[in-house]
């Protein structure tokens, strides 16, 4: 689905990432770790075309990112669900409308999506927050709303950047179960996190591969977890 071939990236001057090759096959489950500032978010941005590699090539669903035009990027994003580290919303729309935003934006908003939305909001524990405005949410609630928004289009690939940074342990288990469930349905999942407990908990339920960014490159973490 997503292929990185000898990818390098630098914001300016020194390379932040070099020599990264990876294939995200359908139905796989990946964790991405590494110290703060190692380049996890940067790596994910390369995977959903928010950044273009400064070296090597990235193919998303078979298309070379550097050759995609802006509309192609927009269409591609409807097939990739992304939870951003600093989740942002349209502050003048209710939480439910924000979660359903990808539907309206891609012209797929139909009344029968309502049940889908309901169920999803229930999964992430936001039943009571349908009509709240995003600035009225707590930190954890924002993250969960962002996750729900990433999942509403039922994307083929889910990329989540620290989706449990602000939620308690039980809630993070609940969110993890949701992602594992989706993975079982054939979705590709990649979660960037520094919470080793979460990775350990996941390993009990799913065949997860753990990637680690060290020394500016991607390495498969061993059985040390």
């Amino acid at each position: 689905m997503i292929e990185l071939d000898n990818v390098a990236y630098s914001y300016s001057g020194d390379a932040l990432l070099t020599d990264i090759s990876l294939q995200l096959a359908p139905g796989t489950f990946h964790f991405l770790t590494g110290p703060s500032g190692a380049g996890k978010t940067t790596f994910l941005k390369l995977c959903y075309g928010a950044l273009k590699p400064t070296g090597g090539s990235v193919h998303i669903f078979g298309d070379d990112v550097t050759e995609m035009d802006r509309d192609a990027v927009a269409y591609m994003r409807r097939r990739v669900g992304v939870v951003h580290q600093d989740c942002q919303f349209l502050d003048h729309l209710s939480v439910a409308e924000n979660v359903a935003l990808p539907l309206s934006v891609s012209g797929q908003a139909t009344p029968d999506q309502a049940e889908n939305l309901n169920e999803l909001m229930g999964w992430v524990g936001l039943q009571g927050k349908f009509d709240s405005l995003p600035p009225e949410l707590s930190g954890g609630e924002r993250q969960r709303a962002a996750l729900a928004r990433a999942l509403i289009l039922s994307p083929d690939v889910i990329l989540a950047d620290e989706p449990t940074g602000n939620v308690d342990w039980e809630m993070s288990q609940r969110l993890l179960r949701l992602l594992i469930e989706l993975n079982r349905m054939g979705k590709t999942v990649m979660i960037a996190t520094h919470d080793l407990g979460l990775i350990r908990a996941a390993k009990a339920h799913v065949q997860a591969r753990v990637l680690r960014i060290t020394n500016r490159t991607l390495q498969t973490a061993g059985a040390d977890l």
Binding site: R70, A74, R77, Q88, L90, P102, S104, L153
Partner: protein, 301 residues
Amino acid sequence: MRARLDQVIALLKGDQGADRIVPPSGFTVRLTLFTSAAMAFLTIFALALSLAAGRLGTSWGDELARASTIRISAPPEQMQEQVASVLRLLEQTPGVETARALSADEQRELLEPWFGPALPVEQLPVPQLIDVSETSDGYDADSLRLRLQAEAPGAVLDEHTRWRRPLVAAASRLRLLGWVSILLIGAATGAMVTLAAHAALAANAQVIAVLRLVGATDGYIAQAFVRRFTLRTLSGALAGTLAGMAALLLMPSAGDVEGLLTGLRFEGWQWLLPLVVPPLAALVAYIATSAAARRVLGGLA
């Protein structure tokens, strides 16, 4: 062209969903509304000023009547000859339309208020008058004077409506000033609407980034903003235009004075002219917002 038309129709119909993504109000929107209203109001005034100046120029120009008189004083024996040579001369002068010697009756009529109807014009050394009417270009008075002096020493050119010329010139300068103001105000409106649209888009940078992240195409995002700002500008300009027209209607009429300064108002079909202002403002807003949206979107991945 067809695609363009579809785009405009889509713009007017609007997309319920797309419309909601732009925050409903805020200072930048109010700013756009007010700017276009104020500028439309000023434009209407400048337009009325230009048209009034134009009418003023025309009416002064008409009254100018483009007429002058040549007065020939000569001893009776030379009179006939001088009159004939002056008439010949005038015939050859470029800018003179007709020239005609007044008859004795006409001269008596002219002098009547002074001397009463009993004046024996024929027996007095009354000068002969020649009525000259110019073409619209007019003739060169100085060179005519020189040639008259050579041909008929007793002839005096009297441009009795020349004094209106500066007034006509003044009126046409006033009209020019009006159009310059309209241009200035138009340019200022364009620049301000552009800046207001930019400011609004900058203020909504987060909205645009979020939309782009969840898979909205540039066209979808741009249209939502363009629609909002075009409509706001249109309604603002419409309000300003109507207010301007109302203000003109309420302007005190000058009464008798109107003969000369035909009032700061529109007349007849001219009342349709200000109605061009709102669509023009909307067009400016459309172009400005499209460009601004393209610019902001270009900066996003």
